[in-house]
Assembly symmetry: C2
Homo-oligomer: 585 residues x 2
């Protein structure tokens, strides 16, 4: 096929869009690939659709290779199945909800676990029908609080979501592995660097959850990896728990006055001044216990304050805390929260117990108290006394205070040990491009998906869920393949195989270009042909070619009549004079 720029639906823009925060957004809009319709909602222009279709074709091929069959669900779905699994509520404001003319509730599906489960329940009834993997490539909706970065975090996006159905755990493992392998093939074909990282602690019945992250400085996910092969999302990182120490023989705690000491650093200074250590080493923030007040916003609308104690040299990582308290949303306590809870003495908060603040005035306010896993029994801490202007030395975990539980609340830092013993971790940033997840029997149980096993007994099916963000991948490829002049697509997803530019005004040049284009088409190439005449200068044409980013450009110019063209490799930035007869594209 030959597409002629003279009548193609394309307008490249000289100016960056004012709302573009990232390179991919900026270039995809300027080069005429996408166009904004509403916050986080885009229309696909012809060039963009071509690249999207190429990515989808690769995904489809590898899904077929993985034995998955394609289906297609509507975006508009009834409330009921999502009500049964609790997701109608859990999704909170991120779910687009609506009702029809009869008042029945509907949603725009953010993912389709429920209806895939019901479809299989509807049609299949025997272990003989399984294993089964089915998928769709479909437009999804999430009402993001802050849609941004163009396609990287939109409110409408195209996703490939696959679901596997098995009778046994071993079957699920095999289905999971088939999808995981397909993902590796897909990202390799797309030329997309990726890291496979653990996406949760794996503590829940051995089910696996892994994310494919594309390492990039603009990524919104932080992950850790060790030289020994450990890799995990920071939300999934688990702290190495030290052994408990003997409590017997430890000195009693002493409360001391600490005016104007509301921060960890002022507390450390005061401690070194007033109570220098016997061995002469200075106290550091790691010797203090920081107590942070957080507010949990529960699904039922209630707001609960909790206090979390962690070593003073670490900050709380709210994303990690959210995993621990999911599906509640977590935020820092507000001034109003402190004002409403007299027992919470800001700057002087210490451990807390069901009876109220440890050491401080007893208070009627019941606040749950959680500890970082490092705060094991027998550890001694300098911390707040829950009394204004007072702190305490030598408060011993397990003797002077206990907790309602332990949470992974502290930030992960470079140098922290990998939980599998494979050495210290380093931190990196990435963008999620895929997720493979063993759902296990959660959805099948909730929705009653059972089949008869070999013995004629009803068993609940075990499932996996596997997602790839098609439109996000497109943006990430654009993000990683450009220069200051425009996009430079990898061949596998370029909108055209070759971009031929007729550079000049002579009719002879256009004649040669037409011949060349015809022969390229005959050899099966998909050609973009810049056949514009009139006032469109070669400079404008070259600028457009750079912006659009077809990796192979052939410039038909002055030497065309002598049988020579220029072969321009956008990625390498080289331009070679080549005899037309020798052109091998």
């Amino acid at each position: 096929m030959v597409t002629r720029l003279s009548n193609y639906f394309l307008r490249t823009l000289r100016e960056d869009p004012s709302d573009a925060e990232v390179t991919s957004h900026r270039l995809l809009v300027r080069a005429g690939y996408i166009r904004r319709q509403a916050p986080g909602v885009f229309a696909w222009l012809p060039l963009g659709l071509r690249v999207k279709n190429k990515i989808e074709a690769i995904v489809r091929e590898e899904m077929a290779n993985a034995g998955a069959f394609e289906v297609h669900f509507p975006a508009l779905l009834p409330r009921e199945p999502y009500e049964v699994t609790g997701r109608w509520e859990e999704y909170g404001d991120a779910l687009f909800r609506l009702h029809d003319r009869k008042g029945a509730d509907y949603l725009l599906a953010p993912t389709h676990e429920e209806v895939f489960t019901l479809l299989v329940k509807d049609l299949y009834s025997s272990y003989k029908d399984l294993p089964l993997s089915i998928y769709q490539i479909q437009d999804k909706y999430r009402d993001e609080a802050r849609p941004r970065a163009g396609l990287l975090r939109g409110r409408e996006f195209t996703m490939k979501d696959a679901y596997s159905f098995d009778v046994s755990d071993a079957g699920l493992d095999a289905s999971y592995q088939a999808q995981r392998d397909a993902y590796e093939r897909i990202f390799t074909r797309l030329g997309l660097e990726y890291e496979i990282v653990q996406a949760d602690a794996g503590a829940m019945g051995g089910s696996r959850s892994e994310e494919f992250l594309h390492p990039t400085a603009v990524g919104e996910d932080t992950f850790v990896r060790s030289a020994g092969g450990y890799a995990a999302n920071v939300e999934a990182y688990t702290t190495e728990v030290p052994e408990a120490r003997p409590i017997e023989g430890l000195a009693p705690a002493t409360v001391f006055d600490s005016p104007n000491t509301p921060t960890i650093s002022t507390l450390v200074d005061l401690a070194n001044e007033r109570h220098p250590r016997d061995d002469g080493r200075a106290w550091t923030a790691a010797d203090t216990l920081k107590n942070v007040v957080l507010a949990l916003q529960h699904l039922d609308g209630s707001r609960e304050l909790v206090v979390i104690g962690l070593p003073g040299d670490r900050d709380v990582d709210l994303k990690r805390v959210e995993v621990a308290f999911s599906p509640a949303e977590v935020e820092a306590a507000t001034e109003a929260d402190f004002a409403a809870n007299a027992g919470l003495v800001k700057g002087y908060i210490g451990p807390w117990s069901p009876q109220g603040p440890v050491l401080g005035e007893e208070s009627a306010t019941e606040i749950r108290y959680f500890l970082d896993p490092r705060v094991v029994d027998g550890t001694e801490w300098i911390t707040g006394a829950n009394v204004d202007q007072q702190h305490v030395f030598g408060l011993v975990a397990g003797r002077d205070f206990t907790a309602d539980g332990f949470v992974e609340a502290a930030e992960v830092r470079a140098g922290d040990p990998a939980p599998d013993g494979s050495g210290p971790v380093e931190l990196a940033r990435g963008m999620e491009i895929g997720h493979v997840f063993q759902l296990g029997r959660k959805y099948a149980e909730a929705l009653g998906l059972k089949v008869l096993d070999e013995n004629g007994k009803l068993v609940t099916v075990t499932m996996g869920s596997y997602g790839i963000g098609i439109t996000r991948i497109l943006a990430i490829i654009a993000e990683g393949n450009n220069d200051e002049r425009g996009l430079i697509w990898p061949k596998a997803v370029a909108p055209f195989d070759v971009h031929v530019v007729a550079a000049g005004r002579d009719a002879a040049i256009f004649e040669v270009a037409e011949e060349l284009v015809a022969s390229l088409e005959a050899s099966g190439k998909d050609v973009l042909y810049d056949d514009r005449t009139g006032k469109v200068s070669p400079g404008v044409k070259f600028g457009d070619a750079e912006l659009i980013g077809v990796p192979v450009v052939v410039v038909v110019g002055r030497e065309a009549t002598e049988g020579f063209v220029e072969l321009w490799d956008r990625a390498a930035g080289t331009k070679d004079r080549v005899a037309i007869a020798d052109l091998a594209l």
Copy 2:
């Protein structure tokens, strides 16, 4: 590609779905093509998706041949552009409306005129950029009051919608013709019989609107056609208006008592008994003027009663009336409407004037009165006197009563004259499969789409809109291609090229079948291979083959080892013994 039934995601059903009203719905569900998710909302299973993809591919090819470029818009769109054109209101309950977490209004687009207009406005500015035709294939939403007949009238459906943009009327005509020609090619390739019918009176500035109807008894559209080539939707049919007659010399009207005469037929009987015609011919219903009270439901929520007078031998066609009063909705007046308007004497209603009922008691109720175009000045009528138990003879149009206007309210009947003089029309039923429509400058004006013309002057662009219902077409093809045993797809859209059935238990049969399937695959065929073993009998396999409806079935049975198979033509119903070596598919 070879798809093996032993592990394909397919379950054919023995029972018809309980909610299936039409054959296509029944068979598409039973054969495993689609599955219902909510009223009028379906999921596409692998077989269905294959057929849908084939239809879409044909549409895409012909759109490219027509010079149209593909884009893709989201289903979720902001309210504003639809507010500007009035469609946010006009669509009434048929529009799915929702709002995001910030309270901004959105809709699920039923069609995309507004955003296509804005896209072109956004990117183009000169006559040199035009003409332009762009299209998408996209899932649309309409909250139908009565979703039914499976895919034939769903609430979610896939549509190809194209839009053309031109500077001149002649340009629009050319763009319109290109789409119209493409539609003819598409329906021909799909093997779909069609009639092109006028879809409105064409009175609005010469703009054209034509529907492609597939003639079928289950069609919900009625159209008329003459032997001379006229064809129109009944809503677009225009009545031949007789010449006015002289009023002078006509006898004065006479009111007469007519107890218990609430219907046209009792009125005709009474007239023939009391006032026989001078020339001896009997009065018929055509001599009476029937006055029908209708209620208009306006967009602003108000309800207005109107009276329509038409010859007593014709019924009102509400669909035709709705076109006349669009965008108001029209329904018959209710008992409550009559009760609230004392002047309306049910069964005795006559012409009405702004001052109140003609002849009857004067009333404060202002009701607009409309006439069928046949009721020209000088025609004499037997009609109601607007007084209980009284009618009137010889009431003369233009002398005794006038109207607020004329409306095409009467039903069209076989034998009525075609308005273009091409002879009497016959009525037929059809299903809309495409619509080509010259929008003219309506949307461009509302949304400010102007370009500079050759003289540097801003001119408003003129547009066309062209739709094809992809999923509806699929259902219509299924509706027209089946027998009592199942579907029989035309080759152009069949889910597979050939369906190979291994019929028997001998390993030798499967060996031959495997070889055959491999050679078919090597020759580029897309093969469905029924390789099921175990308890699946040949009878079950044949039944599934019939239900699924691949038009070419090859049965590999007992004679396979001798080199023979059975070639089964599903459409012809023939089964021929063929040497494998001679198989030409």
